[in-house]
């Protein structure tokens, strides 16, 4: 008797849970996915003209008449360029540390992996300590060449440079795994059949990496398209910074900023959806099944030609320096007080631990040009005056 009661109670409870869970799901789905989308779409097509009349096509017309396409084109330009540069650098760092026999590969790998720890903003900040208009290298250069353009590290090239090195993390993780998944015996088989090491790389190793590379390419493209921190900090007019700017703007300043922001974000979303769908489709049929039941571990390939060997080593260490620069700068400046950080010049006579153990107040400029005062802790060092970056230690610890 008691048992059946219990059973009945249990059934009821699970039913309640189901209803509850269903309701919660519907709420979340509607509230956080459907409604915002509808709102965004509505806001685009319900703009009013100066006379207060509804003009559904106003934003669309504005889009084609004004400078809005340039933001889209800039974003696409960045995305396409990034695909090239990130793949070149990303493939390089993985081959240099995993495939070729380069001296000091372990240290090189650590250097290449630093972008896993530092967020985009911190990275840009690190570069800016050197290259910004008042950065150390710029100061020194303009001492040597007084006529030089102190704003040289800004715009498209600067964004491309910083983002290239910021976006190789996925290559470092996934391409590395892909390379390690190769059965080394296939490399040996190719060598045995007379293929030179470079040919083996091209014909045997690279093809097995293609599916991974394709995924990485799509991800990089989306990252470039949706880039936020680097374009904001380095001054490049791409979609996302414009969305943020428009969202903070008011009707008094310009024509229907919110609706324009909405339109831009829809465009961004459409691109992303198309790309992810392509990726999904390709991934489902694109992976090569390794046919080896037992795998031999990859043995690093020595570059036989001494000249190429030296060139590869130089290339590896130049990349290492580029990767380590922002990290070194950030570490260096974390022992400096706020005025020095702000002026981006090392105050060699005064080192401080205040960023680690104390607080100091400093003023900074928000993205909307307002002066704010903030209590300084270490995060202040990693932030470039507006956004807080930080060390994603948890990310590293979790692997």
């Amino acid at each position: 008797m008691q048992q059946t009661l219990k059973k009945k109670g249990g059934l009821d409870l699970s039913l309640i849970w189901k209803v509850f869970g269903g309701a919660l799901f519907v709420y979340l789905f509607l509230g956080f996915m459907v409604l915002p989308c509808l709102n965004t779409l509505t806001s685009i097509f319900t703009t009013k003209d100066a006379a207060g009349n509804m003009d559904p096509m106003a934003v669309i017309r504005f889009f084609f008449a004004g400078n809005m396409p340039s933001f889209v084109i800039n974003s696409l330009k960045l995305a396409v360029s990034l695909v090239v540069t990130v793949n070149v650098v990303g493939i390089s760092i993985v081959l240099l540390t995993e495939y070729f026999d380069i001296k000091g590969a372990k240290i090189l790998r650590l250097g290449y992996m630093t972008t896993l720890i530092y967020s985009g903003v911190a990275l840009v900040t690190g570069y800016q300590f050197l290259y910004d208009s008042n950065g150390m290298l710029t100061q020194w250069l303009s001492g040597v060449f007084p006529g030089m353009n102190r704003q040289w590290f800004s715009g498209f090239n600067a964004v491309l440079f910083t983002m290239t090195f910021a976006c190789t993390s996925n290559h470092a993780l996934f391409l590395r795994n892909a390379i390690r998944g190769i059965d080394y015996n296939t490399v040996e088989a190719a060598r045995n059949m007379g293929a030179k090491p470079f040919k083996v790389l091209l014909k045997v190793v690279m093809p097995t990496l293609l599916p991974t590379l394709f995924s990485l390419t799509v991800m990089t493209f989306i990252t470039g398209l949706c880039a936020m921190s680097a374009p904001t900090l380095l001054g490049y007019n791409s979609i996302n910074p414009e969305i943020v700017r428009l969202a903070g703007s008011s009707v008094a300043d310009e024509a229907f900023p919110q609706a324009r922001a909405a339109l831009l974000s829809i465009i961004l979303a459409l691109f992303t959806i198309v790309l992810l769908t392509t990726l999904n489709h390709y991934e489902r049929k694109g992976h090569y099944l390794s046919v080896s039941k037992t795998k031999a571990k990859l043995v690093k390939q020595k570059i036989q030609n001494p000249v190429w060997n030296v060139v590869a080593h130089i290339y590896a260490y130049v990349l290492f320096i580029i990767y380590m620069t922002p990290v070194a700068m950030i570490v260096l400046f974390s022992f400096q007080n706020w005025p020095a950080i702000r002026a981006k010049s090392l105050n060699v006579s005064s080192w401080t631990l205040i960023n680690f153990f104390g607080t100091q107040d400093y003023s900074y400029t928000t993205s909307r040009g307002k002066q704010r005062l903030r209590e300084g802790v270490i995060s202040g060092v990693f932030s470039n005056a507006d956004t807080v970056g930080g060390i994603r230690l948890s990310f590293v610890l979790s692997r």
């Binding site: 040996e188 014909k203 390794s290 037992t294």
Partner: protein
């Protein structure tokens, strides 16, 4: 054909091969046999050129190739994993070596067709991705790929070891048939004594980086040179004091007898040492029966053909006979 002279191979401080000497003859099926870690693969890789010996020479057809790079050695390899290129079709896998050699296209196609017919791969199978083939078909592709460039010699490192028992026996036979057909000099690595005995013309038995014996299957089995070889190939009974004294064998040596050489309930020959034994236990294998017989103060394992008539029960008394000719002494 292939000659290894005083080969020493070191991995850092560890000496994996000490003074290996082998001479494989033209057209021979030659097997490296030994337990895990004894240096079979290392020796094979020294021949193929993946490992360079610290001393000694490798020569092929009278030419010293010790320092010739891998790709110039003209040696075919079949890997344990087959190492087929997963991104290519069966056809392209086989064509790889020919394309590297920059042969004209029609010649490549001609050679692929010929070899495919020989290893029994159909046109449909040639068009398939290698992942769509079964283990046995993959092996044939691996062999075709290794043979199509017409190497002087082919090396196989445990090509059957990751297949199930039945397929292994089937492919073993196919392998032998193909080798006979092609008449190609083959070096074969295995730790499976049955595989070695059934396939080989000659066997080199490895132990801890040394070769203990080189000989035909019959030589290494029936005339094992060392205790290790006798022990590793087939099963043996160490003979205890009772039998040794009974046969009048020298006491300063170890004496052994193979299981199938022990005579049970047979008419006594002149030289045979015969004694009473009791069946302790019995294992029934179908083809034969294995008895554990307590005799002369020890347990002796015996294999008897299952003739369906003379089957002994545990506890039964039998006459155990040992002929001195059958004793192996080390």
């Amino acid at each position: 054909m292939i000659k290894l002279t005083d080969i020493v191979v070191k991995f850092d401080d560890f000496e994996a091969l000490h003074n290996i000497n082998v001479h494989v003859k033209e057209g021979e099926f030659f097997t490296f046999l030994g337990p895990s870690g004894c240096g079979k693969t290392t020796t094979l890789r020294t021949i193929t050129g993946f490992i360079e010996p610290v001393s000694g020479t490798v020569s092929m057809q009278g030419r010293d190739i010790t320092h010739v790079p891998i790709e110039k050695r003209n040696i075919g390899i079949v890997f344990q994993s087959y190492a087929l290129f997963p991104t290519m079709t069966v056809h392209d896998n086989i064509a790889f070596g020919l394309k590297i050699k920059k042969l004209p296209k029609n010649e490549i196609e001609e050679k692929i067709k010929t070899i495919a017919r020989k290893v029994d791969l159909s046109d449909e199978q040639l068009a398939k991705a290698v992942s769509q083939l079964s283990g046995g078909q993959q092996q044939r592709v691996a062999i075709a790929r290794a043979l199509v460039t017409e190497p002087a010699i082919i090396c196989m490192d445990e090509p059957l070891s990751n297949l199930d028992a039945k397929l292994r026996v089937q492919l073993r036979n196919e392998l032998k048939k193909m080798q006979r057909e092609f008449g190609i000099t083959t070096i074969y690595v295995t730790h499976d004594q049955e595989e070695a005995l059934t396939l080989s013309d000659r066997i080199a038995v490895f132990n801890k980086g040394y070769i203990e014996q080189i000989g035909t299957p019959n030589e290494v089995y029936n005339h094992s040179k060392t205790e290790f070889v006798a022990n590793f190939i087939g099963d043996i009974n160490p003979l205890g004091e009772g039998v040794v004294k009974g046969l009048g064998l020298p006491a300063d040596k170890h004496h052994f007898i193979r299981l199938e050489r022990v005579r049970v309930n047979r008419p006594k020959d002149d030289d045979v040492f015969q004694t009473d034994g009791v069946i302790e236990n019995r294992e029934y294998y179908g083809l034969y029966i294995k008895y554990y017989i307590n005799t002369a103060g020890q347990t002796i394992k015996v294999i008897e053909k299952n003739d369906g008539i003379n089957i002994y029960e545990p506890g039964e008394h039998v006459a155990v006979g040992i002929h001195p000719q059958d004793v192996m002494s080390y």
